[in-house]
Symmetry: C2
Subunit: 138 residues, 2 copies
DNA sequence: CTGTATCCAAGGTGATACTG
DNA sequence: CAGTATCACCTTGGATACAG
C-alpha cells in the first residue's frame, strides 16, 4: 500500500475540504445559488405571472438549457424550498413550478444581478477589448 | 452524408451553441459573475477599506480558494474592468487589487446575495430536511 | 408531456513544484 | 510575496434513449 502517497493525500485533502464545507455551510448555499441555471430559472419564474411556469415553458424560456440541467436544478430548488412542484394528473401530465415566498425574495436579488449584467455588458466589453489589446502589446 | 454519426451531430450542436453564445452575450456575462469565487472575491473587496486588498490577504480572507482559482478569477475580473491590479515593486513584491466603480456597483448586489444566503440558511436547511424525509418515504 | 438513466467529452479544480 | 506551469482528477453538463 505504499502506492497511496498521492492518493492518500488526496483523500486527506478531500476530507479536510468536506469538513470545511460542514463548518462553512453558507459557502455551500452561496455556491448553489450562484449557479448559472439557478439564476436564470429563478429570474424566469420571478418574471412570470403568478410566479409559476410549466416545465416545458421553462425549457423554452431559458435558451440553452438541457432537460437534464433543468430537471436537476428544479429538483435542488424544490429541495431547498425555493419552488413548489405541482403535478396535475391530466392525460398529458402537467407540472407547474411556482416560486415560494422564500424563492421570491431571492428572485428579486438575482433579477437585479441579471439586470446589472444586461445594462453593463457594453462597459465590460469595452474593458475586455482594452485589456486584450494591452496584453497583446507584450 | 449518411454518416451523420454522433460525432457529426456533436459538432453541429457545438457550433449552434457557440452561435447562441454570440447572440446571447448577456448569458456569458451572467455566467461569469455567477461564479462562486467571483462572488466571494468581489464581496471581500467590497467590504475592505478602500475596496482594496493584497493578493495574500484575499487568499486568507476567502477560505478554500486555491492560488490557481484566485489568480485566475482576479485576472478575469481585471480583464472585465471590475478590479485594478497595482504592482508595487518593493523587495517583496506587493500587489493590490482594488474594486473599480463598476466593480463596486456589482459588489453591492453580490453582497446582498451573500447576505441572503447567510440569513436564510436555516430556512433552506429546514426545507431540505423536510424534503429528504418525504423522499425517503417512497 | 415530463421526466429518468446511461454514456461520454470537456473543462473546472486542486496539488505540487518552480520562477522572479 | 506573487505568481506560473504542469499534471491528474473528477465533477459538470450534454446527447441519447427509454419510461410513466
Amino acid at each position: 500500500m505504499a502506492t497511496s502517497t498521492a492518493a492518500a493525500r488526496r483523500e486527506e485533502a478531500r476530507l479536510a475540504y468536506d469538513a470545511f464545507l460542514e463548518e462553512c455551510p453558507t459557502g455551500q448555499l452561496l455556491a448553489r445559488i450562484s449557479d448559472k441555471w439557478v439564476g436564470l430559472i429563478v429570474s424566469a419564474l420571478g418574471q412570470a405571472e403568478d410566479r409559476s411556469l410549466r416545465y416545458s415553458d421553462l425549457g423554452r424560456k431559458i435558451p440553452g438549457v438541457s432537460q437534464k440541467m433543468l430537471t436537476q436544478t428544479l429538483r435542488s430548488l424544490e429541495r431547498d424550498g425555493l419552488v413548489t412542484r405541482t403535478v396535475t394528473p391530466t392525460v398529458p401530465v402537467r407540472v407547474d413550478y411556482r416560486l415560494t415566498d422564500l424563492g421570491s425574495s431571492l428572485g428579486g436579488l438575482l433579477s437585479s444581478v441579471k439586470l446589472w449584467a444586461e445594462s453593463h455588458f457594453d462597459e465590460v466589453s469595452a474593458h475586455r477589448d482594452t485589456f486584450d489589446r494591452a496584453t497583446a502589446t507584450s
